[in-house]
Symmetry: C2
Subunit: 438 residues, 2 copies
């Protein structure tokens, strides 16, 4: 006898029970359909990449979290996002791709951080990006925002996208002659929801920024509403070129979003949206579930100047939207916001009584051919425990097939939800089960 090893799973690694996995798969399938309806193509990059490729872009923080190892003489890493592999892919296939290149990818990524509630080491990311060759119209930014609308609609969720453009705040920073502190200012203002105005003031005063300039910056970030409301609040505050470009871009974006049929229920401009990542250079956005702001952003994205500067000299501007798929699924699951599914794996279980197993299997074939999911209770157990099994599995119907029933071609159908019983011929049975099939 072997010594037993206690079966256990790595902490922070995904494993859904089958019923949840079904819901997860359905959600994934619905999202894929939205992407394909919007003419995005699927890409499935490897889980592992050469370390020099994967780490070319990453900052120090991510490095520590990465699963990196050597096999033979090869130094490799598990992917920690889907953007770096995309950059590598586009750089490798520049001549074969049609631009703008629209791809989506839903896949696992790996980050070896300390697991905590809501933080996983293995989780699904869901990304859609549009990459241009040289140039890329703002229409594509609108396309990414509009994906959220269609995705949340197909998932029956009520959500809103909050949009800004980093050039507006960047331009104000220029005109206040604070360019050298630009990074600090973005980081501080990104925390305004967490630490409040006073907190931001404190941080920026420590950087020796004059109070009146800080107030200008904070006031800008308070601008929020539809395009006209936001424009009226920031009009004439600045003539910086970058600022004016940002203003032009949000106006343009707004016109495209309206043409796409999005309304004020779907998006709002909010200049406090910054997104942590440094590589966003224009449009930035975050998606929130209405009535569930406490969940935080369930998605986000934006425009970046150059996707693959580490791998090619070709300028590849892009815009992307992302959904933290595992996190969103977890939120929806624990708040019972997912479509209900039954635990049942079948609509009907056929239970043989006496020597009728072959007839049960033949009936199963007929029912399956009629798209009715069917199981035969074939194990060597008592009739009673087979009924108990069917009940435990929440199978809505049971057919009991005894030798008399086989002879008379009559099927005894039991509705397990209310105990009702029907004696039906084959056509009647199929009809009844088809009617009640989910």
């Amino acid at each position: 006898m072997n010594k037993l090893i206690t079966p256990r799973r790595l902490p922070g690694f995904l494993e859904l029970e089958p019923i949840k996995q079904k819901q997860f798969n359905e959600m994934e399938q619905k999202i894929k359909e939205v992407f394909e309806k919007h003419s995005f193509v699927p890409l499935d990059t490897p889980i592992l990449e050469f370390s020099d490729i994967l780490l070319a872009k990453s900052g120090g923080d991510v490095d520590k979290e990465i699963y990196r190892f050597t096999k033979g003489s090869t130094d490799m890493c598990m992917r920690y996002d889907l953007t770096v592999p995309l950059a590598r892919y586009v750089a490798m296939n520049l001549n074969e791709l049609n631009f703008p290149f629209k791809r989506y990818q839903i896949g696992k990524v790996f980050r070896g951080e300390r697991p905590q509630k809501g933080r996983l080491r293995e989780f699904f990311q869901c990304d859609a990006d549009i990459i241009g060759n040289g140039d890329l119209s703002i229409v594509n930014d609108a396309e990414c925002v509009s994906l959220y609308k269609d995705i949340f609609k197909t998932l029956n969720l009520d959500a809103i996208v909050e949009i800004s453009n980093r050039k507006i705040l960047g331009g104000l920073i220029n005109s206040l002659e604070l360019q050298k502190l630009s990074n600090d200012i973005f980081i501080a203002l990104d925390k305004i929801d967490k630490i409040g105005e006073e907190g931001v003031k404190e941080v920026l005063l420590e950087k020796n920024i004059p109070a009146e300039k800080i107030i200008s910056l904070i006031n800008l970030c308070k601008a929020c509403g539809n395009i006209d409301e936001v424009l009226s609040k920031i009009e004439n505050i600045c003539q910086d070129e970058e600022f004016l470009c940002g203003v032009k871009e949000i106006k343009e974006l707004d016109s495209y979003l309206k043409a796409m049929g999005l309304t004020e229920k779907d998006y709002i401009f909010k200049l406090a949206i910054i997104r942590g990542h440094n590589y966003y250079t224009g449009t930035v956005f975050e998606a929130y579930l209405n009535g569930h702001r406490d969940f935080g952003a369930v998605g986000g994205g934006g425009r970046y100047e150059n996707l693959a500067s580490y791998y090619t000299e070709q300028k590849l501007p892009g815009v992307g939207m992302s959904i933290g798929f595992s996190r969103l699924f977890d939120i929806l699951s624990s708040n019972e916001l997912l479509p209900k599914v039954t635990n049942a794996t079948s609509t009907v279980t056929i239970i043989p009584l006496g020597e009728t197993l072959l007839e049960c299997i033949a009936l199963q074939k007929i029912l399956r051919d009629n798209d009715i999911t069917t199981e035969v209770s074939a194990e060597n157990k008592s009739f009673k425990s087979k009924m108990k099994d069917a009940n435990k599995k929440e199978t809505p119907f049971v057919v009991i097939l005894g030798e008399n029933e086989v002879k008379d071609k009559v099927f005894a159908l039991k509705d397990m939800t209310n105990g009702e019983q029907f004696n039906l011929d084959l056509n009647g049975l199929i009809l009844k089960l088809k009617q009640t099939q989910a």
Copy 2:
């Protein structure tokens, strides 16, 4: 300027071009639907597992191929198949699961062997298993074989499953008093297709097995045909208990397969089928594409005595079927046996002429709402190069929207396959595109 890193992918790692990825996803979806129709539930175990869990069962050969590494104090491995994680899962969830537990999993597995044609380091495995608690009826073996029929049917492939039962050969080995050499005999006979009868004889003579016993073994393996043909060839050759049990099991299996509607076109008994793996203990089978025997087996599986003996004392017999998904896809793809798909990501591209971009986007919304995949050619390019793009992307239709067309509410639709042009009102346009939508 950064020094550029040449973008490259790890050899032996998967990455399909988008059009192939689409075909791959469609194939995966079709297979999933078959599994669910047969009441299997999805499971998605983590990519990484604790090393002691994953290596408990593996032989020395697999060990060398495994991607194993340490992070912090945790020793972990990337999964190299989907069976060991299943064993760990079932052992962990014994009390929650309903038995027989039917699960399927389609996912990537990792084996760091030397990459060569047809051998990948990262590839998709596709498994369905049925696990019993204590006992498991032979009906489940039939269910696994029948999955192949439905899967190949949905993929439009003509295939056959070849079936044996290891107890038959095992029983003959017993009666020849060759038990001690049982493993060597299984291994040698498993190669009969490769090295021929003479090759097998040579190998077994070297093990000092008398020639007449070798002939008996080889003759058994020649038995092939429907159940009656096979039984007539092996009748009375042996009264060993294991042998008789194997014979009883194939008879039983045959009756279930027939009740499931399978015919001689779908399966055949062939006692030369052994399957390399030592852990198969009863039914074994392999699937072949008719007319493409040279591809080798595209799937296989069988019955095992005890799934999770390393993790639990509970006896868990199982039967499983597997498809080498990446390999099958590769074969079908290179032999043009996959359903054709177009390169086009849209049915129609709308090209603005003059200042009509917003109207193009509004039209795109209407067409998408009618389930017509639509793109707007919005980049800052000449009309001519936009037409060229649409052509290169193999988009079947183009709508050219100029200012006059907007005013007159007329849409100029061009069929890119034959150059035909139509002037249509909105309803006419939708109708025409819906008719030709794939």
